[in-house]
């Protein structure tokens, strides 16, 4: 079943169908990016020992990141980890307090406006003009990039189609739902056909349906070869969308890699979640140590890191223990984060 992607960009990949792209992606998986591109391509974002300070508060504490063209790269971490500060530095809106940063080959400190002319930014908070129509928002934004009106109109038709907002073209933005506003912000950010699209928590606050629709749209962009940088505190989002990601905590990078690799490296194949009623789980920790590679004690439950969850559960039953509930699941990035920092991502 092959269908063609809506062509937003004049990319050689646009004629490829999703099936082929998935195949390509599978082949790439778990290979370090420079090798994907035969080592010929340079990173389009390169940060070394990057620091952001606000007075005495250190928001970003010396991070090293390289992001390559065509990649979908994630910054994962809890609120306050320094993701947004990093995004704002990469999008050349916030000057770095230390270290070096190159975006699209240039230094944001001297070529900020030039770099921004090739970026698309989807900020955490929509900065749409609620009192104006969808079309007016696109026109104004396109004008900031100095695009001629005719060109903006052509692109808007295409982009609203992509964002599934074509029938809302003349509606006041105020009347759109949260998910629609988010999609409009993305469409708006694409008006300049950017080389790099930066999305700061694109789905925070959206209902599940709206999130899935947004993911689908972002996946299509990725398939068209647009380089994406995404921050999120949702594990599933990072696993869905990111080729590679860094896990941030307290302004530092605590892990880097492909989602699957991180899980393999920092977690087990499966996780057994046990509940023993209120505070009933604490006495069992000692007696279960031998069954699991590692046990995480959460306020309400125990997480047993094991290779075979069902196997471990039957052992527990054989010992005469009856948990109130037991759940076997695959390891996720949440477990990676928990292991690395001792905290859950979304409290």
């Amino acid at each position: 079943m092959a269908f063609h992607l809506p062509s937003l960009f004049f990319s050689p990949k646009r004629a490829l169908d999703v099936g082929m792209l998935r195949e390509m992606k599978r082949k790439r998986k778990n290979i370090h990016p420079p090798e994907i591109f035969d080592g010929t391509l340079q990173p389009i974002v390169a940060a070394h020992d990057l620091v952001k300070r606000f007075d005495s508060f250190v928001a970003v504490d010396g991070i090293d990141v390289e992001i390559f063209q065509g990649e979908s790269f994630g910054f994962l971490g809890p609120n306050g980890a320094g993701k947004t500060s990093t995004m704002r530095m990469i999008s050349c809106m916030s000057p770095a307090s230390g270290g070096s940063l190159r975006v699209l080959g240039r230094d944001p400190a001297v070529a900020g406006a030039q770099i921004r002319s090739r970026l698309g930014l989807v900020p955490q908070e929509d900065t749409l003009e609620l009192e104006l129509t969808v079309l007016d928002n696109m026109l104004i934004y396109g004008r900031y990039f100095d695009l001629p009106k005719k060109e903006i109109l052509e692109r808007t038709t295409r982009l609203l189609d992509f964002a599934q907002l074509s029938d809302r073209r003349d509606e006041k933005v105020d009347h759109l739902s949260g998910g629609m506003k988010r999609r409009l912000t993305i469409a708006r950010a694409l008006i300049s056909e950017p080389d790099l699209l930066i999305l700061d928590e694109p789905t925070t606050g959206l209902d599940p349906q709206a999130r899935h629709l947004l993911w689908d749209r972002l996946y299509r962009l990725k398939a068209e070869g647009v380089t994406l940088i995404i921050t999120t505190h949702y594990m599933d989002e990072a696993e869905q969308l990111c080729d590679r990601l860094v896990v941030m905590d307290h302004g530092k990078i605590v892990a880097t890699g492909a989602p699957r690799d991180l899980i393999v490296e920092h977690s087990t194949r499966e996780v057994l979640e046990l509940r023993f009623g209120i505070d009933g789980h604490l006495p069992h920790v000692g007696g279960l140590q031998d069954l699991a590679e590692r046990i995480e004690v959460l306020p309400d439950r125990l997480l047993l890191y094991v290779d075979d969850g069902d196997d471990a559960l039957s052992m527990i039953h054989r010992r005469g223990l009856v948990p109130e509930s037991a759940l076997v699941r695959r390891s996720t990035l949440e477990d990676v984060f928990l292991h690395l920092t001792g905290r859950t991502l979304v409290d």
Partner: protein, 272 residues
């Protein structure tokens, strides 16, 4: 080294060739397209009401009792003052709440700095828009002045640019002040303790020489006094004298310092 894709794909993008600070004004223009009717009425109606009430109503009384002011009819005296006062008021209005909207409430200015525009462009774009608004309403008021025969010199044509300068000279420092405010709590105070006294005691309705000496001294430093006096000398065939040049220089200093302060304030707020 990082890949330099800026030049390749960026160069293929079509361009209109607008300077960055002017692109910033599109945002205001789109809003104005929706509101221009009510906006023009509200920004010109008030000065016109004063023009008719004071100039014609009170003027008849003054002219009858004292034969006018400084050798001209009261209408001719008060009209240029009202032109300056209307410019001051519009300039300050457009540099208070709209600045707060752009930076804090709607955050339109944050959307701008995510594009090739930077903080300076946003600041200059804002003041550029205010200049356009001033030009529009000053021109309308000026036309009414001409119709009622209050402009008796060709120098009068410069009254409109002088009014725009008066509005910007007071609007620009106001924009700098508004940009760094946490909220709009200070604005009503600015209008009551700033704009209103300026309006009343800057030689708009009566010559400042009819006030006590110490009040005159204060009135002399009011930019509105200088604006009204400059415009009056232009419309009343008094030519460009030393006093007019001093007023021009004084307003220009306010304007230049105000623009500089606005740019600084916008940088401080938008580059963090």
């Amino acid at each position: 080294m990082t890949a330099d894709v800026l030049s390749e794909r960026g160069a293929r993008q079509p361009r209109s060739g607008w300077p960055t600070w002017m692109r910033s004004i599109w945002h205001n223009a789109f809003f104005y397209r929706k509101t221009w009717r009510s906006s023009i009425i509200s920004s010109t109606l008030q000065p016109l009401l004063y023009f008719f009430a004071m100039g014609l109503g009170l003027g008849a009384l003054v002219d009858h009792a004292r034969g006018g002011v400084d050798g001209v009819s009261y209408l001719k005296f008060v009209a240029p003052g009202l032109l300056a006062a209307a410019a001051l008021q519009l300039g300050i209005e457009e540099c208070t709440y709209p600045v707060m909207m752009g930076l804090k409430w709607v955050k339109s200015y944050w959307a701008k700095v995510a594009t090739p525009l930077d903080a300076d462009d946003v600041a200059l774009g804002h003041l550029g828009w205010v200049a356009f608004r001033l030009l529009l309403s000053s021109t309308i008021f000026f036309v009414v002045m001409v119709i009622f025969g209050t402009v008796t010199s060709f120098w009068g044509l410069l009254a409109v640019p002088a009014a725009v300068l008066t509005g910007l000279a007071t609007g620009a420092p106001t924009a700098a002040y508004a940009a760094v405010q946490k909220d709009d709590a200070g604005f009503p105070l600015l209008f009551r303790l700033g704009v209103l006294p300026l309006f009343l005691f800057s030689g708009i309705f009566f010559p400042i020489t009819s006030m006590p000496g110490w009040v005159q001294a204060i009135a002399q430093i009011s930019p509105l006094t200088r604006g009204a006096s400059l415009i009056r000398s232009l419309t009343l065939d008094q030519g460009i004298g030393v006093s007019a040049l001093i007023s021009l220089a004084y307003l220009s200093i306010w304007f230049v310092v105000g623009v500089w302060l606005t740019i600084r304030a916008f940088r401080k707020m938008l580059i963090v």
